[in-house]
């Protein structure tokens, strides 16, 4: 099987501070990749660099599209990169307020990606929005409500619906469960797992919550001070950590 995304020797520094150094990994279709590490380890920088929110210093982000063409994403012209982020890729922010249009109704939020890619039939857009609200377990009756009237968990699911509507192949998530209480987290993770299975999605999830990656991800990358210190199958890394930092991370996790 061919990889969907390949990261090659990716580096990014802020002045003298190196945030990511020679990061490399492959991602295959249908795979969930977890990136864990403490605050300041460079995991969010890595995710934002892949999404094109940040310019990288060196290295390549290689993406294989459904037609079998490879693209070096960090060298694409902006118009193509925006298009990619709206069609085949998606980004889910930690704080849904950053990923949603808060002054636009839930339906309008979902519609925006369809309108961005040129759909111009109101009735069809509305039907699609209703469908995706159901998919993320939000009552379609609330289609005309503002996101501000939604709970935190619902906002996060709405953000997910907004991204899923163009049926992307790759979704990048930055701490998707951050700030949610435990039962809501569980529901969101459950939903994510079924979406990954049903739609053959690939996910990259950045988190500091070991529980999230244990439940969701197939493979795991552990980062410390901008470097990958350990990577492998999630169970393997978590059950038999090799690097001292990973050992510390695993032993520091609270287990109920």
């Amino acid at each position: 099987m061919e990889h969907l995304l390949k990261i090659n020797q990716l580096s990014k520094s802020y002045g003298g501070i190196s945030a990511c150094e020679d990061i490399y990994f492959d991602l295959y279709p249908g795979q969930v990749l977890g990136i864990v590490g403490e605050s300041g380890s460079g995991k969010s920088t890595l995710l934002n660099a892949i999404a094109g929110h940040l310019a990288v210093d060196s290295g390549e982000i290689i993406y294989l599209d459904p037609q079998g063409n490879t693209h070096i994403v960090n060298q694409l012209p902006e118009i193509k990169r925006r298009w990619l982020m709206r069609t085949e890729w998606g980004f889910v922010q930690q704080n849904p307020r950053n990923g949603l249009l808060m002054k636009v109704s839930a339906g309008g939020n979902i519609a925006s990606r369809l309108l961005d890619v040129g759909q111009r039939h109101y009735g069809q857009i509305r039907d699609t929005a209703t469908h995706w609200l159901e998919q993320v377990e939000i009552d379609p009756k609330r289609i005309d409500d503002l996101p501000g009237t939604f709970s935190g968990g619902m906002q996060q699911r709405l953000q997910l619906a907004r991204v899923l509507v163009t049926q992307p192949r790759l979704i990048l998530m930055d701490e998707p469960t951050g700030g949610l209480d435990v039962s809501v987290q569980a529901r969101l993770l459950d939903l994510l797992r079924s979406l990954v299975r049903n739609f053959h999605l690939s996910l990259i999830i950045v988190t500091h919550d070991i529980g999230v990656v244990r439940l969701l991800s197939h493979r795991l990358i552990v980062m410390q001070k901008g470097k990958v210190v350990e990577s492998g199958l999630t169970d393997q890394v978590l059950d038999d950590p090799q690097h001292p930092y990973t050992q510390l991370l695993v032993s520091a996790t609270l287990t109920p």
């Binding site: 925006r82 636009v104 519609a111 925006s112 990606r113 309108l115 111009r120 109101y122 009735g123 069809q124």
Partner: protein
Amino acid sequence: MSNETGYNFGYLDEQTKRSIRRAILKAIAIPGHQIPFSSREMPMSYGWGTGGIQVTASVIGQNDVLKVIDQGADDTSNAVNIRRFFRKVCGVATTEKTAQATLIQTRHRIPETPLKAGQTIVYQVPIPEPLQWLQPSTRETKKMHALEDYGAMYVKLYEDITKYGHIATSYDYPVMVHDRYLMSPSPIPRFDNPKMNMNPALQLFGAGREKRIYAVPPYTKVESLDFADYPFTVERWDKACEFCGSRTSYLDEVVLDDAGKRMWICSDTDYCRESQEAGNGTFVEN
């Protein structure tokens, strides 16, 4: 009539007029694209048509016949004063008849009488950026124009239909010019939007405070944004003009007293007078 001594022809100095003409030429070359220009202080406050006046002053010639309208009318203070201003600083002939004018400066309307090839219409524009209400950052709106990234505008129309059942924008209704640039048509009622499409006249837009000029060359496609199942429509009245009886022109509602009495009359005074002279002036009972 000759122009008053002490003023250059057209009030602006020749170098300024040249620089504005360069901006106008550039604007004509890229239909719908906003071109920055060095807007000058004019002897009136912003909001009174300083952009339109600078454009008019730069393109007006000694043989031009100028018509100025404000909300369709030739006799409102804004129109009268701008007309007098140009008579004073250019000494050109002025008219109230659309068909006789070679140059028309307008605020908020396009004349009902169809424009002809060879005529130029200059719009006064308060806010040239149609995306400003959606995206306050100019840096970002410029990028949106460059990348033809107009989804956000449609999100607004989507919200309109969701809230009101129809697209509620009634004036300054955004248009796509030449299938490329999203353009603000200045605050004309959407009734006038279809007149911009494939118009034989040259259409110039000047925004003085915002320092932008843009243009629609003759015979250019101008499309109002809409949805496939919610097509663009114009206003209709179930009344006729009480002076000329027209049922096809844009009507203004005039409140007559504080007892709720009102009348409906043509907003285009020249069109109304002409159709009255043509014998259509019978009073129509509503």
